[in-house]
């Protein structure tokens, strides 16, 4: 069986705020013809059960991501800076919670 070629609608990333006071979280992607259309689709695809109070959509192409192979050089240097954590410091017990 043959079908006419689908010219794909562009890809969008969807972020949903689950409730007021929380951040928008990435929840998936979808194809849509434009931003308005992407919002409507995101509502149908990702919030059929009141999973959100607000939706962001943005073109997938506009995201710049760090490369996995740069993981060591980007994040490794933080590992030896343990003085950035509160547990690095010894405080006498009698001081109590600080």
């Amino acid at each position: 069986m043959s079908t006419t070629a689908l010219k794909d609608w562009p890809l969008w990333e969807v972020f949903v705020r689950s409730k007021q006071g929380l951040e928008h979280k990435h929840c998936g992607s979808l194809h849509a013809s434009d931003a308005q259309h992407a919002l409507q689709m995101a509502r149908d695809v990702y919030t059929r059960r009141q999973e959100g109070v607000s939706i962001w959509v943005l073109p997938s192409k506009s995201i710049t991501a760090s490369a996995p192979e740069d993981k060591d050089s980007l994040f490794e240097p933080a590992a030896d800076k343990i003085y950035r954590h509160p547990t690095f410091y010894d405080i006498p017990e009698e001081v109590g919670h600080m």
């Binding site: 010219k7 562009p10 998936g28 979808l30 013809s33 434009d34 149908d44 991501a65 996995p68």
Partner: protein
């Protein structure tokens, strides 16, 4: 709703080539293996062996196809549901299946496979979908049984996929599983109501169970001894529990549900095995299963034709939406394209 690992049907020439691995690749492979061994996740941008990528594309796209083809046997009953309540429930369920297909297509796309290519493979018959949908839904009781048994089997299979090593697939499965339990419960409840009805209605439920029971057991795929690709999928953390173990779990969970419902499962060999602490069950007709997988089931042609027609009939809508977007917001579209 469900995915089968139909790898056994692969063409001979398409074997994942164990090409000579360069030193750099060997290091990447070592890191990949180490992450899998540590039960870590693989994300889209990470290096992965070509065979891992291909296996996932095949499995996730088959799974997506199963979701959208699975809309057809139930969609068939929307206009004939016995009450407004049942109609609203069925519409919501069928809409969910469409949504599940979309989550899964998105997950497969992160592996570099285009949506258009996946749909073309489905429509040409190259890609498979769960063969359970190649059987007809003859009566209203079938809709209930599809929810109870078909979705029940699907959930059994999908829960371990929530821990799949490929991040986007695992995340899609978590969403799917959350929504799927409503599917099984609504089916079982619809059957409970019918079982409180007339003798004719009860007979209708039993008839539907008789027709679907063995097909549902086959949904878990070939026995472990004949499932050649399972071992590799286990090694990769794509598959977590073997076909036979999942099938056993399904049988053990379903027998008490059937008792409460008041139906008989059509297997004279079905009985509790005190020693194994599991139910024993009879022989599955694998010839019939493969015959259906290979295109000769009662509804294969009809399902595919309906799917292709829907796609072709929607072509002008997709084109019009794109033309509208280009005309009204050229800058937004260019940013996205």
């Amino acid at each position: 709703m469900y995915t089968q690992s139909l790898n056994v049907q692969e063409k001979q020439g398409e074997k994942p080539a164990l090409q000579t691995i360069s030193r750099e690749n060997a290091e990447l492979q070592r890191r990949f293996d180490a992450r899998i061994d540590a039960d870590g996740k693989i994300e889209p941008q990470d290096w992965m062996p070509e065979a891992y990528r291909k296996t996932l594309i095949r499995q996730i796209s088959q799974h997506a196809h199963s979701e959208i083809v699975g809309m057809l046997p139930e969609g068939n009953w929307i206009s004939r549901a016995p009450s407004l309540k049942r109609k609203a429930i069925l519409i919501a369920k069928v809409q969910d299946e469409g949504g599940h297909g979309l989550y899964l297509y998105s997950a497969a796309e992160t592996l570099g496979q285009g949506r258009d290519q996946m749909l073309a493979d489905l429509h040409s018959g190259k890609a498979k979908y769960s063969s359970i949908f190649n059987y007809p839904t003859l009566t209203w009781a079938d809709v209930g049984v599809v929810g109870w048994l078909v979705d029940g089997a699907a959930i059994m299979n999908q829960i371990p996929l929530c821990r799949c090593s490929y991040g986007p697939y695992a995340r899609a499965m978590i969403r799917v599983c959350k929504e799927e339990s409503f599917h099984q419960r609504q089916g079982y409840e619809a059957l409970l109501v019918m079982m409180q009805g007339t003798a004719e209605q009860r007979a209708m439920v039993q008839d539907a169970v008789n027709r679907f029971w063995w097909k549902c057991l086959a949904m878990f795929g070939p026995p472990d001894a004949n499932s050649q690709h399972s071992e590799q999928a286990m090694r990769w953390g794509i598959k977590r529990i073997s076909n036979d173990d999942l099938r056993q779990k399904f049988v053990d969970a379903t027998v008490p549900q059937a008792r409460v419902l008041g139906v008989t499962l059509p297997d004279p060999d079905l009985k509790w095995n005190e020693e194994r602490q599991h139910y024993d069950y009879g022989q599955i007709d694998w010839d019939e299963f493969w015959n259906t997988v290979n295109g000769h089931g009662p509804c294969n042609k009809e399902r595919l034709a309906t799917r292709v027609k829907a796609h072709n009939d929607g072509q002008w809508v997709r084109e019009a939406a794109l033309a509208y977007a280009l005309k009204h917001q050229p800058q937004t579209h260019q940013a996205a394209a």
